[in-house]
Amino acid sequence: MPYTAVKPSRARTSDELRATIPGWGADLDPAVRPSYPRERLEVPATDTMPEQQQHEGYRERSIEHARLTPVFGTVAPLHGLSGWIRRLAYDRYSEGRALHWLLLVLGDRVDSAASGLRSFASLRPDNPITETGVLAELKRGGLRSRVGRGRIDLKHTWIDPILVAGPFVLGAVVLWRVTRPLRRRR
Protein backbone atom coordinates (compact mmCIF):
# COMPACT_ATOMS: atom_id res chain seq x y z
CA MET A 1 0.00 0.00 0.00
CA PRO A 2 1.24 3.52 -0.74
CA TYR A 3 0.60 4.53 2.83
CA THR A 4 3.48 2.42 4.16
CA ALA A 5 7.12 2.23 3.13
CA VAL A 6 6.75 -1.20 1.57
CA LYS A 7 6.97 -1.46 -2.20
CA PRO A 8 4.11 -3.59 -3.57
CA SER A 9 5.05 -7.15 -4.33
CA ARG A 10 5.52 -8.11 -7.97
CA ALA A 11 3.47 -10.69 -9.79
CA ARG A 12 6.58 -12.32 -11.27
CA THR A 13 10.14 -12.55 -9.99
CA SER A 14 13.13 -11.55 -12.07
CA ASP A 15 14.00 -15.22 -12.61
CA GLU A 16 10.51 -15.93 -13.89
CA LEU A 17 10.68 -12.94 -16.24
CA ARG A 18 14.14 -13.95 -17.47
CA ALA A 19 12.80 -17.41 -18.28
CA THR A 20 9.81 -16.17 -20.26
CA ILE A 21 10.67 -12.88 -21.94
CA PRO A 22 13.38 -12.79 -24.63
CA GLY A 23 16.34 -10.72 -23.49
CA TRP A 24 14.83 -9.76 -20.14
CA GLY A 25 17.41 -7.79 -18.19
CA ALA A 26 20.03 -7.79 -20.95
CA ASP A 27 20.32 -4.03 -20.49
CA LEU A 28 19.87 -4.06 -16.73
CA ASP A 29 23.26 -2.46 -16.28
CA PRO A 30 22.88 1.17 -17.37
CA ALA A 31 26.46 1.10 -18.66
CA VAL A 32 25.41 -1.07 -21.61
CA ARG A 33 22.59 1.26 -22.59
CA PRO A 34 23.77 3.26 -25.58
CA SER A 35 22.29 6.54 -24.41
CA TYR A 36 23.54 6.35 -20.85
CA PRO A 37 24.47 8.93 -19.91
CA ARG A 38 22.42 10.77 -22.47
CA GLU A 39 25.10 13.38 -22.90
CA ARG A 40 28.63 12.10 -23.47
CA LEU A 41 31.06 13.47 -20.95
CA GLU A 42 34.24 12.99 -22.95
CA VAL A 43 34.14 15.54 -25.71
CA PRO A 44 36.75 15.53 -28.49
CA ALA A 45 38.79 18.72 -28.48
CA THR A 46 38.25 19.72 -32.09
CA ASP A 47 37.07 22.94 -33.64
CA THR A 48 36.27 21.42 -37.03
CA MET A 49 33.60 23.31 -38.93
CA PRO A 50 31.84 21.80 -41.94
CA GLU A 51 32.24 23.46 -45.32
CA GLN A 52 29.46 25.92 -46.16
CA GLN A 53 26.85 24.71 -48.66
CA GLN A 54 26.72 27.15 -51.56
CA HIS A 55 23.56 29.08 -52.22
CA GLU A 56 22.26 32.05 -54.17
CA GLY A 57 19.75 34.59 -52.96
CA TYR A 58 17.79 34.69 -49.75
CA ARG A 59 17.61 31.66 -47.48
CA GLU A 60 15.42 32.21 -44.45
CA ARG A 61 16.78 31.37 -41.02
CA SER A 62 15.78 31.69 -37.39
CA ILE A 63 16.98 34.95 -35.88
CA GLU A 64 18.16 32.86 -32.94
CA HIS A 65 20.91 31.48 -35.21
CA ALA A 66 24.13 33.46 -35.54
CA ARG A 67 24.57 32.38 -39.15
CA LEU A 68 23.17 30.29 -41.93
CA THR A 69 23.95 26.72 -41.01
CA PRO A 70 26.65 24.99 -43.09
CA VAL A 71 24.08 22.60 -44.56
CA PHE A 72 20.39 23.14 -45.22
CA GLY A 73 17.50 21.90 -47.29
CA THR A 74 16.61 23.53 -50.57
CA VAL A 75 13.16 22.16 -51.29
CA ALA A 76 10.29 24.59 -51.99
CA PRO A 77 11.95 28.01 -51.67
CA LEU A 78 9.82 30.94 -50.51
CA HIS A 79 7.55 32.42 -53.16
CA GLY A 80 4.40 34.49 -53.52
CA LEU A 81 2.17 35.65 -50.68
CA SER A 82 2.91 32.60 -48.54
CA GLY A 83 6.61 33.31 -48.98
CA TRP A 84 6.11 36.90 -47.84
CA ILE A 85 4.27 35.73 -44.71
CA ARG A 86 6.87 33.10 -43.91
CA ARG A 87 9.70 35.55 -44.47
CA LEU A 88 8.06 37.96 -42.03
CA ALA A 89 7.84 35.15 -39.46
CA TYR A 90 11.54 34.33 -39.83
CA ASP A 91 12.92 37.84 -40.13
CA ARG A 92 10.89 39.47 -37.37
CA TYR A 93 10.04 36.93 -34.70
CA SER A 94 12.14 34.46 -32.73
CA GLU A 95 11.08 30.86 -32.09
CA GLY A 96 10.12 32.04 -28.62
CA ARG A 97 7.24 34.13 -29.98
CA ALA A 98 3.89 32.50 -30.69
CA LEU A 99 3.47 34.89 -33.61
CA HIS A 100 6.44 33.27 -35.35
CA TRP A 101 4.66 29.93 -35.45
CA LEU A 102 1.18 31.30 -36.06
CA LEU A 103 2.46 33.23 -39.09
CA LEU A 104 4.11 30.07 -40.39
CA VAL A 105 0.82 28.19 -39.99
CA LEU A 106 -0.94 31.02 -41.84
CA GLY A 107 1.69 30.80 -44.57
CA ASP A 108 0.99 27.08 -44.85
CA ARG A 109 -2.73 27.67 -45.39
CA VAL A 110 -2.09 30.40 -47.97
CA ASP A 111 0.44 28.15 -49.73
CA SER A 112 -2.02 25.28 -49.82
CA ALA A 113 -4.91 27.41 -51.10
CA ALA A 114 -2.79 29.20 -53.70
CA SER A 115 -1.22 26.02 -55.04
CA GLY A 116 -4.68 24.45 -55.19
CA LEU A 117 -5.94 27.37 -57.27
CA ARG A 118 -2.83 27.30 -59.45
CA SER A 119 -3.32 23.61 -60.07
CA PHE A 120 -6.60 24.33 -61.86
CA ALA A 121 -4.64 26.32 -64.42
CA SER A 122 -2.31 23.35 -64.97
CA LEU A 123 -2.57 20.01 -66.72
CA ARG A 124 -2.88 18.29 -63.34
CA PRO A 125 -5.47 19.96 -61.14
CA ASP A 126 -5.85 18.87 -57.54
CA ASN A 127 -8.04 15.80 -57.28
CA PRO A 128 -9.61 15.49 -53.82
CA ILE A 129 -10.54 11.85 -54.44
CA THR A 130 -7.11 10.52 -55.32
CA GLU A 131 -5.06 12.94 -53.22
CA THR A 132 -6.92 12.28 -49.98
CA GLY A 133 -6.63 8.55 -50.55
CA VAL A 134 -10.25 8.22 -49.56
CA LEU A 135 -10.66 5.21 -51.85
CA ALA A 136 -8.85 3.28 -49.15
CA GLU A 137 -12.19 3.38 -47.34
CA LEU A 138 -13.44 0.88 -49.93
CA LYS A 139 -10.24 -1.11 -50.41
CA ARG A 140 -9.16 -1.32 -46.77
CA GLY A 141 -12.46 -1.92 -45.02
CA GLY A 142 -13.46 1.53 -43.84
CA LEU A 143 -16.72 0.29 -42.39
CA ARG A 144 -15.32 -2.95 -41.01
CA SER A 145 -12.48 -1.09 -39.33
CA ARG A 146 -14.81 1.27 -37.50
CA VAL A 147 -18.22 -0.23 -36.80
CA GLY A 148 -18.67 -2.18 -33.58
CA ARG A 149 -15.09 -1.71 -32.47
CA GLY A 150 -15.63 0.90 -29.78
CA ARG A 151 -13.39 3.44 -31.44
CA ILE A 152 -13.54 6.70 -29.52
CA ASP A 153 -12.08 8.65 -32.46
CA LEU A 154 -15.44 8.31 -34.19
CA LYS A 155 -16.60 11.20 -31.99
CA HIS A 156 -14.61 13.61 -34.12
CA THR A 157 -14.04 11.76 -37.40
CA TRP A 158 -16.96 13.68 -38.91
CA ILE A 159 -14.85 16.85 -38.78
CA ASP A 160 -12.26 15.49 -41.22
CA PRO A 161 -14.41 15.60 -44.38
CA ILE A 162 -15.35 19.19 -43.52
CA LEU A 163 -11.69 20.13 -43.09
CA VAL A 164 -10.77 18.45 -46.36
CA ALA A 165 -13.74 19.39 -48.53
CA GLY A 166 -14.34 22.78 -46.89
CA PRO A 167 -11.70 24.68 -48.86
CA PHE A 168 -12.94 23.19 -52.14
CA VAL A 169 -16.56 24.13 -51.36
CA LEU A 170 -15.55 27.56 -50.10
CA GLY A 171 -13.47 28.12 -53.26
CA ALA A 172 -16.39 27.14 -55.46
CA VAL A 173 -18.75 29.49 -53.60
CA VAL A 174 -16.28 32.38 -53.84
CA LEU A 175 -15.76 31.69 -57.55
CA TRP A 176 -19.52 31.57 -58.09
CA ARG A 177 -20.03 34.88 -56.27
CA VAL A 178 -17.11 36.62 -57.95
CA THR A 179 -18.21 35.62 -61.43
CA ARG A 180 -21.90 36.42 -60.87
CA PRO A 181 -21.66 39.95 -62.36
CA LEU A 182 -20.03 38.51 -65.48
CA ARG A 183 -22.77 35.93 -65.86
CA ARG A 184 -25.48 38.57 -65.38
CA ARG A 185 -23.91 40.80 -68.04
CA ARG A 186 -24.29 38.00 -70.55
Binding site: L28, V75, G133, H156
Partner: protein, 382 residues
Protein backbone atom coordinates in the same frame (compact mmCIF):
# COMPACT_ATOMS: atom_id res chain seq x y z
CA UNK B 1 11.99 10.42 -60.46
CA UNK B 2 8.71 9.63 -58.74
CA UNK B 3 8.13 11.08 -55.29
CA UNK B 4 5.35 11.57 -52.80
CA UNK B 5 4.47 15.26 -52.72
CA UNK B 6 2.48 17.22 -50.13
CA UNK B 7 -0.37 19.29 -51.59
CA UNK B 8 -1.96 20.60 -48.39
CA UNK B 9 -3.60 19.14 -45.28
CA UNK B 10 -4.87 15.60 -45.93
CA UNK B 11 -3.72 15.78 -49.57
CA UNK B 12 -0.69 14.13 -51.12
CA UNK B 13 0.10 12.68 -54.51
CA UNK B 14 2.91 11.09 -56.47
CA UNK B 15 4.63 13.48 -58.89
CA UNK B 16 7.62 13.49 -61.20
CA UNK B 17 10.37 15.49 -59.50
CA UNK B 18 13.95 16.20 -60.46
CA UNK B 19 16.34 13.60 -59.10
CA UNK B 20 18.14 15.26 -56.17
CA UNK B 21 21.63 16.58 -56.82
CA UNK B 22 24.80 16.79 -54.76
CA UNK B 23 24.55 20.21 -53.09
CA UNK B 24 27.43 19.90 -50.65
CA UNK B 25 30.70 17.95 -50.96
CA UNK B 26 29.61 15.68 -48.08
CA UNK B 27 26.32 14.69 -49.71
CA UNK B 28 25.32 11.35 -51.16
CA UNK B 29 22.33 10.47 -53.29
CA UNK B 30 20.60 7.29 -52.16
CA UNK B 31 18.24 5.22 -54.28
CA UNK B 32 15.47 4.30 -51.88
CA UNK B 33 14.63 0.61 -51.65
CA UNK B 34 12.25 0.79 -48.69
CA UNK B 35 10.57 3.63 -46.83
CA UNK B 36 8.01 3.64 -44.06
CA UNK B 37 5.21 5.91 -42.98
CA UNK B 38 5.75 7.10 -39.42
CA UNK B 39 3.08 8.22 -36.97
CA UNK B 40 4.76 11.60 -36.87
CA UNK B 41 4.33 11.88 -40.66
CA UNK B 42 0.65 12.14 -39.86
CA UNK B 43 1.26 15.43 -38.03
CA UNK B 44 2.60 16.82 -41.31
CA UNK B 45 -0.15 15.18 -43.32
CA UNK B 46 -2.77 16.78 -41.09
CA UNK B 47 -1.14 20.20 -41.42
CA UNK B 48 -0.07 20.44 -37.79
CA UNK B 49 3.62 21.18 -38.28
CA UNK B 50 4.34 24.84 -39.04
CA UNK B 51 6.10 25.61 -42.33
CA UNK B 52 5.15 22.44 -44.14
CA UNK B 53 5.36 23.60 -47.74
CA UNK B 54 3.45 22.36 -50.74
CA UNK B 55 5.87 20.38 -52.88
CA UNK B 56 7.75 18.79 -50.00
CA UNK B 57 8.38 15.04 -49.99
CA UNK B 58 7.89 13.39 -46.61
CA UNK B 59 9.65 10.32 -45.24
CA UNK B 60 12.31 10.08 -42.55
CA UNK B 61 12.38 6.28 -42.33
CA UNK B 62 14.17 4.78 -45.31
CA UNK B 63 17.01 2.59 -46.48
CA UNK B 64 18.57 2.28 -49.91
CA UNK B 65 21.54 1.91 -52.20
CA UNK B 66 24.14 4.65 -52.61
CA UNK B 67 23.75 6.03 -56.12
CA UNK B 68 26.19 8.95 -56.09
CA UNK B 69 28.62 10.48 -53.62
CA UNK B 70 30.00 13.99 -53.24
CA UNK B 71 33.75 14.66 -53.56
CA UNK B 72 34.31 14.77 -49.77
CA UNK B 73 32.62 11.43 -49.02
CA UNK B 74 35.15 8.78 -47.99
CA UNK B 75 33.28 6.07 -46.12
CA UNK B 76 30.54 5.26 -48.64
CA UNK B 77 30.76 4.11 -52.23
CA UNK B 78 28.26 3.76 -55.03
CA UNK B 79 26.38 0.49 -54.61
CA UNK B 80 26.60 0.34 -50.82
CA UNK B 81 23.45 -0.84 -49.02
CA UNK B 82 22.79 1.73 -46.32
CA UNK B 83 20.40 2.54 -43.52
CA UNK B 84 19.89 6.24 -42.91
CA UNK B 85 18.96 7.60 -39.47
CA UNK B 86 16.05 10.02 -39.47
CA UNK B 87 18.30 12.69 -37.96
CA UNK B 88 20.52 14.75 -40.22
CA UNK B 89 23.64 15.64 -38.26
CA UNK B 90 27.16 16.95 -38.81
CA UNK B 91 28.99 14.93 -36.15
CA UNK B 92 31.24 17.83 -35.12
CA UNK B 93 29.16 20.61 -33.53
CA UNK B 94 28.79 21.23 -29.78
CA UNK B 95 25.78 18.93 -29.56
CA UNK B 96 26.97 16.13 -31.86
CA UNK B 97 30.25 15.99 -29.94
CA UNK B 98 28.20 15.16 -26.85
CA UNK B 99 26.21 12.46 -28.60
CA UNK B 100 23.12 14.62 -29.05
CA UNK B 101 22.89 13.90 -32.78
CA UNK B 102 19.22 14.79 -32.89
CA UNK B 103 20.07 18.28 -31.67
CA UNK B 104 22.73 19.09 -34.28
CA UNK B 105 23.27 22.83 -34.65
CA UNK B 106 24.71 22.79 -38.17
CA UNK B 107 21.88 21.42 -40.30
CA UNK B 108 18.75 23.42 -39.62
CA UNK B 109 18.76 27.15 -40.30
CA UNK B 110 15.01 27.41 -39.75
CA UNK B 111 15.02 26.63 -36.04
CA UNK B 112 17.44 26.27 -33.17
CA UNK B 113 15.05 24.19 -31.07
CA UNK B 114 15.19 21.14 -33.30
CA UNK B 115 17.85 19.50 -35.45
CA UNK B 116 17.54 18.35 -39.04
CA UNK B 117 15.09 15.64 -40.08
CA UNK B 118 14.44 14.25 -43.54
CA UNK B 119 11.10 15.24 -45.05
CA UNK B 120 9.75 16.86 -41.95
CA UNK B 121 8.89 20.43 -42.95
CA UNK B 122 11.11 23.49 -43.04
CA UNK B 123 10.90 23.66 -39.26
CA UNK B 124 13.44 20.83 -39.32
CA UNK B 125 15.55 22.23 -42.12
CA UNK B 126 13.61 22.00 -45.38
CA UNK B 127 14.97 18.67 -46.61
CA UNK B 128 13.09 16.29 -48.86
CA UNK B 129 12.42 12.85 -47.44
CA UNK B 130 12.69 9.26 -48.54
CA UNK B 131 9.16 8.48 -49.74
CA UNK B 132 10.60 8.81 -53.21
CA UNK B 133 12.86 6.97 -55.60
CA UNK B 134 15.93 9.01 -54.65
CA UNK B 135 16.89 11.21 -51.73
CA UNK B 136 19.72 13.60 -50.91
CA UNK B 137 21.62 12.48 -47.79
CA UNK B 138 23.80 15.24 -46.26
CA UNK B 139 26.88 14.36 -44.21
CA UNK B 140 26.95 10.93 -45.80
CA UNK B 141 30.10 9.94 -43.91
CA UNK B 142 28.38 10.70 -40.60
CA UNK B 143 24.74 9.60 -40.65
CA UNK B 144 24.24 6.47 -42.77
CA UNK B 145 25.67 3.06 -41.92
CA UNK B 146 26.23 0.00 -44.05
CA UNK B 147 23.52 -2.57 -43.32
CA UNK B 148 25.22 -5.68 -41.94
CA UNK B 149 24.69 -8.77 -44.09
CA UNK B 150 22.81 -10.55 -41.33
CA UNK B 151 20.32 -7.73 -40.80
CA UNK B 152 17.24 -7.79 -43.04
CA UNK B 153 16.03 -4.78 -44.99
CA UNK B 154 12.85 -4.62 -42.93
CA UNK B 155 14.69 -4.73 -39.61
CA UNK B 156 17.13 -2.07 -40.81
CA UNK B 157 14.23 0.09 -41.93
CA UNK B 158 12.58 -0.14 -38.51
CA UNK B 159 15.86 0.91 -36.89
CA UNK B 160 16.03 4.20 -38.81
CA UNK B 161 13.47 5.68 -36.43
CA UNK B 162 10.66 3.70 -34.78
CA UNK B 163 12.73 1.01 -33.07
CA UNK B 164 15.55 3.40 -32.15
CA UNK B 165 13.02 5.85 -30.74
CA UNK B 166 11.12 3.25 -28.71
CA UNK B 167 14.37 1.81 -27.32
CA UNK B 168 15.65 5.30 -26.53
CA UNK B 169 12.35 6.13 -24.82
CA UNK B 170 12.74 3.16 -22.49
CA UNK B 171 16.30 4.27 -21.71
CA UNK B 172 15.15 7.77 -20.79
CA UNK B 173 12.86 6.13 -18.24
CA UNK B 174 15.97 5.10 -16.28
CA UNK B 175 14.27 1.79 -15.53
CA UNK B 176 15.65 -0.22 -12.64
CA UNK B 177 14.99 -3.88 -11.91
CA UNK B 178 11.38 -4.53 -11.02
CA UNK B 179 10.00 -1.16 -12.10
CA UNK B 180 6.45 -0.88 -13.33
CA UNK B 181 6.40 0.81 -16.74
CA UNK B 182 3.28 2.21 -18.36
CA UNK B 183 3.39 3.03 -22.07
CA UNK B 184 0.68 5.25 -23.52
CA UNK B 185 0.22 4.41 -27.20
CA UNK B 186 0.43 1.03 -28.91
CA UNK B 187 1.70 2.31 -32.23
CA UNK B 188 5.14 1.24 -33.48
CA UNK B 189 7.12 3.42 -31.05
CA UNK B 190 4.95 2.37 -28.10
CA UNK B 191 5.26 -1.31 -28.98
CA UNK B 192 9.04 -1.03 -29.26
CA UNK B 193 9.27 1.01 -26.04
CA UNK B 194 7.23 -1.62 -24.19
CA UNK B 195 9.34 -4.47 -25.54
CA UNK B 196 12.55 -2.57 -24.76
CA UNK B 197 11.45 -1.93 -21.18
CA UNK B 198 11.82 -5.65 -20.47
CA UNK B 199 15.43 -5.54 -21.70
CA UNK B 200 16.13 -2.97 -19.00
CA UNK B 201 14.64 -5.11 -16.26
CA UNK B 202 11.05 -3.90 -15.91
CA UNK B 203 8.93 -5.97 -13.55
CA UNK B 204 5.65 -5.06 -15.22
CA UNK B 205 4.87 -3.44 -18.55
CA UNK B 206 1.42 -1.98 -19.15
CA UNK B 207 0.29 -0.58 -22.51
CA UNK B 208 -2.69 1.77 -22.92
CA UNK B 209 -4.48 2.58 -26.18
CA UNK B 210 -8.05 2.68 -27.52
CA UNK B 211 -7.58 0.37 -30.50
CA UNK B 212 -8.14 -3.27 -29.57
CA UNK B 213 -6.12 -4.64 -32.48
CA UNK B 214 -3.08 -2.67 -31.36
CA UNK B 215 -3.54 -3.75 -27.76
CA UNK B 216 -3.64 -7.34 -28.97
CA UNK B 217 -0.31 -6.68 -30.71
CA UNK B 218 1.03 -5.21 -27.46
CA UNK B 219 0.15 -8.45 -25.66
CA UNK B 220 1.65 -10.68 -28.36
CA UNK B 221 4.70 -8.66 -29.39
CA UNK B 222 5.55 -6.79 -26.20
CA UNK B 223 4.21 -9.29 -23.63
CA UNK B 224 2.38 -6.40 -21.99
CA UNK B 225 -0.70 -6.08 -19.82
CA UNK B 226 -3.12 -3.86 -21.71
CA UNK B 227 -5.91 -1.41 -21.01
CA UNK B 228 -8.33 0.18 -23.46
CA UNK B 229 -8.94 3.72 -22.22
CA UNK B 230 -12.07 3.94 -24.36
CA UNK B 231 -13.67 1.31 -22.17
CA UNK B 232 -13.09 3.01 -18.84
CA UNK B 233 -14.34 6.22 -17.33
CA UNK B 234 -11.00 7.52 -16.10
CA UNK B 235 -7.78 5.83 -17.19
CA UNK B 236 -5.75 7.62 -14.52
CA UNK B 237 -7.78 6.01 -11.75
CA UNK B 238 -7.45 2.66 -13.51
CA UNK B 239 -3.67 3.07 -13.64
CA UNK B 240 -3.57 3.97 -9.95
CA UNK B 241 -5.62 0.90 -9.06
CA UNK B 242 -3.34 -1.24 -11.23
CA UNK B 243 -0.29 0.02 -9.34
CA UNK B 244 -1.52 -0.28 -5.74
CA UNK B 245 -2.51 3.40 -5.85
CA UNK B 246 1.14 4.43 -5.99
CA UNK B 247 1.39 5.10 -9.70
CA UNK B 248 3.86 3.59 -12.13
CA UNK B 249 7.59 4.10 -11.61
CA UNK B 250 8.04 5.10 -15.25
CA UNK B 251 5.53 6.29 -17.84
CA UNK B 252 6.35 6.64 -21.52
CA UNK B 253 4.32 8.93 -23.77
CA UNK B 254 4.43 7.26 -27.18
CA UNK B 255 1.45 9.15 -28.57
CA UNK B 256 2.27 12.79 -29.09
CA UNK B 257 0.46 15.59 -30.84
CA UNK B 258 -2.74 13.88 -31.93
CA UNK B 259 -3.61 12.16 -28.68
CA UNK B 260 -7.24 11.19 -28.27
CA UNK B 261 -9.28 10.75 -25.12
CA UNK B 262 -10.25 14.37 -24.48
CA UNK B 263 -12.44 15.89 -27.17
CA UNK B 264 -11.57 19.52 -26.42
CA UNK B 265 -7.82 18.88 -26.36
CA UNK B 266 -7.92 16.76 -29.50
CA UNK B 267 -10.07 19.13 -31.55
CA UNK B 268 -8.25 22.32 -30.54
CA UNK B 269 -4.88 20.73 -31.32
CA UNK B 270 -5.32 18.18 -34.08
CA UNK B 271 -8.22 19.72 -35.98
CA UNK B 272 -7.91 23.47 -35.46
CA UNK B 273 -4.17 23.68 -34.75
CA UNK B 274 -4.59 26.03 -31.77
CA UNK B 275 -2.04 24.05 -29.72
CA UNK B 276 1.31 22.54 -30.57
CA UNK B 277 -0.25 19.19 -29.86
CA UNK B 278 -2.99 17.50 -27.89
CA UNK B 279 -1.33 16.80 -24.51
CA UNK B 280 -3.86 14.18 -23.38
CA UNK B 281 -1.37 11.32 -23.21
CA UNK B 282 1.28 13.53 -21.65
CA UNK B 283 -1.14 14.72 -18.97
CA UNK B 284 -2.23 11.15 -18.31
CA UNK B 285 1.45 10.23 -18.01
CA UNK B 286 2.00 12.98 -15.45
CA UNK B 287 -1.02 11.86 -13.48
CA UNK B 288 -0.34 8.11 -13.75
CA UNK B 289 3.29 8.09 -12.70
CA UNK B 290 4.17 7.87 -9.04
CA UNK B 291 5.57 10.80 -7.09
CA UNK B 292 9.28 11.07 -7.80
CA UNK B 293 8.80 8.96 -10.92
CA UNK B 294 9.98 9.53 -14.47
CA UNK B 295 8.01 10.49 -17.55
CA UNK B 296 9.74 9.79 -20.85
CA UNK B 297 8.26 11.67 -23.78
CA UNK B 298 8.76 10.08 -27.19
CA UNK B 299 5.58 11.44 -28.75
CA UNK B 300 6.24 14.28 -31.19
CA UNK B 301 4.69 17.69 -30.54
CA UNK B 302 4.67 20.88 -32.58
CA UNK B 303 6.54 23.99 -31.45
CA UNK B 304 3.45 25.93 -30.36
CA UNK B 305 2.31 25.88 -26.73
CA UNK B 306 0.22 23.00 -25.36
CA UNK B 307 -1.99 22.85 -22.27
CA UNK B 308 0.27 20.61 -20.20
CA UNK B 309 -0.45 20.00 -16.49
CA UNK B 310 2.89 21.25 -15.38
CA UNK B 311 1.77 22.00 -11.81
CA UNK B 312 1.12 18.32 -11.12
CA UNK B 313 4.52 17.44 -12.56
CA UNK B 314 6.18 19.91 -10.24
CA UNK B 315 4.20 18.97 -7.15
CA UNK B 316 4.90 15.27 -7.71
CA UNK B 317 8.61 15.87 -8.08
CA UNK B 318 8.72 14.21 -11.46
CA UNK B 319 11.64 13.83 -13.77
CA UNK B 320 10.55 14.69 -17.30
CA UNK B 321 12.91 13.34 -19.94
CA UNK B 322 12.56 13.71 -23.66
CA UNK B 323 14.32 14.23 -26.97
CA UNK B 324 14.20 13.18 -30.54
CA UNK B 325 16.15 9.93 -30.48
CA UNK B 326 19.74 10.01 -31.71
CA UNK B 327 18.96 6.95 -33.81
CA UNK B 328 22.46 5.98 -34.92
CA UNK B 329 23.72 5.89 -31.35
CA UNK B 330 21.29 3.05 -30.63
CA UNK B 331 22.25 0.88 -33.58
CA UNK B 332 25.25 -1.15 -32.35
CA UNK B 333 23.33 -2.39 -29.31
CA UNK B 334 20.15 -2.95 -31.34
CA UNK B 335 22.11 -5.08 -33.82
CA UNK B 336 23.16 -7.25 -30.85
CA UNK B 337 19.60 -7.52 -29.59
CA UNK B 338 18.34 -8.60 -33.02
CA UNK B 339 21.16 -11.14 -33.44
CA UNK B 340 20.50 -12.55 -29.97
CA UNK B 341 16.79 -12.90 -30.68
CA UNK B 342 15.82 -10.32 -28.09
CA UNK B 343 14.05 -8.15 -30.64
CA UNK B 344 12.25 -8.92 -33.91
CA UNK B 345 11.48 -5.44 -35.23
CA UNK B 346 9.78 -6.36 -38.50
CA UNK B 347 7.06 -8.28 -36.64
CA UNK B 348 5.00 -5.11 -36.38
CA UNK B 349 4.86 -4.48 -40.15
CA UNK B 350 1.29 -4.94 -41.32
CA UNK B 351 1.20 -3.49 -44.84
CA UNK B 352 3.36 -3.08 -47.92
CA UNK B 353 2.36 -0.71 -50.70
CA UNK B 354 3.94 0.61 -53.89
CA UNK B 355 4.85 4.30 -53.91
CA UNK B 356 2.06 4.90 -56.43
CA UNK B 357 -0.52 4.03 -53.74
CA UNK B 358 0.92 6.22 -51.01
CA UNK B 359 -2.08 8.56 -50.78
CA UNK B 360 -4.28 5.61 -49.89
CA UNK B 361 -1.55 4.36 -47.57
CA UNK B 362 -1.62 7.61 -45.62
CA UNK B 363 -5.39 7.55 -45.41
CA UNK B 364 -5.35 3.96 -44.21
CA UNK B 365 -2.75 4.69 -41.52
CA UNK B 366 -4.34 7.97 -40.48
CA UNK B 367 -7.81 6.44 -40.21
CA UNK B 368 -6.54 3.21 -38.62
CA UNK B 369 -8.11 1.04 -41.32
CA UNK B 370 -7.45 -2.64 -41.92
CA UNK B 371 -5.74 -3.03 -38.54
CA UNK B 372 -2.81 -0.98 -39.82
CA UNK B 373 0.18 -0.59 -37.53
CA UNK B 374 3.17 -0.10 -39.81
CA UNK B 375 3.22 0.45 -43.55
CA UNK B 376 6.28 -0.07 -45.73
CA UNK B 377 6.46 1.82 -49.02
CA UNK B 378 8.37 0.26 -51.89
CA UNK B 379 9.35 2.63 -54.74
CA UNK B 380 9.19 1.32 -58.31
CA UNK B 381 12.93 1.77 -58.76
CA UNK B 382 13.72 -0.38 -55.70
Amino acid sequence: MKAMVYRGPYKIRVEEKDRPAIEHPGDAIVRVTRAAICGSDLHLYHGMMPDTRVGTTFGHEFIGIVDEVGPAVEKLAVGDRVMVPFNIFCGTCFFCARGLYSNCHNVNPNATAVGGIYGYSHTTGGYDGGQAEYVRVPFADVGPSLIPDDISDDDALMMTDALATGYFGAQLGDIVEGDTVVVFGAGPVGLYAARSSWLMGAGRVIVVDYLDYRLQKAREFAFAETYNFGEVDDIVVVMKRATDHLGADVVIDAVGAEADGNLVQHITAAKFKLQGGSPVALNWAIDSVRKGGTVSVMGAYGPLFSAVKFGDAMNKGLTLRMNQAPAKRQWPRLFEHIRNGHLDPSAIITHRIPLAEIAEGYHMFSSKLDDCIKTVVVPDAA
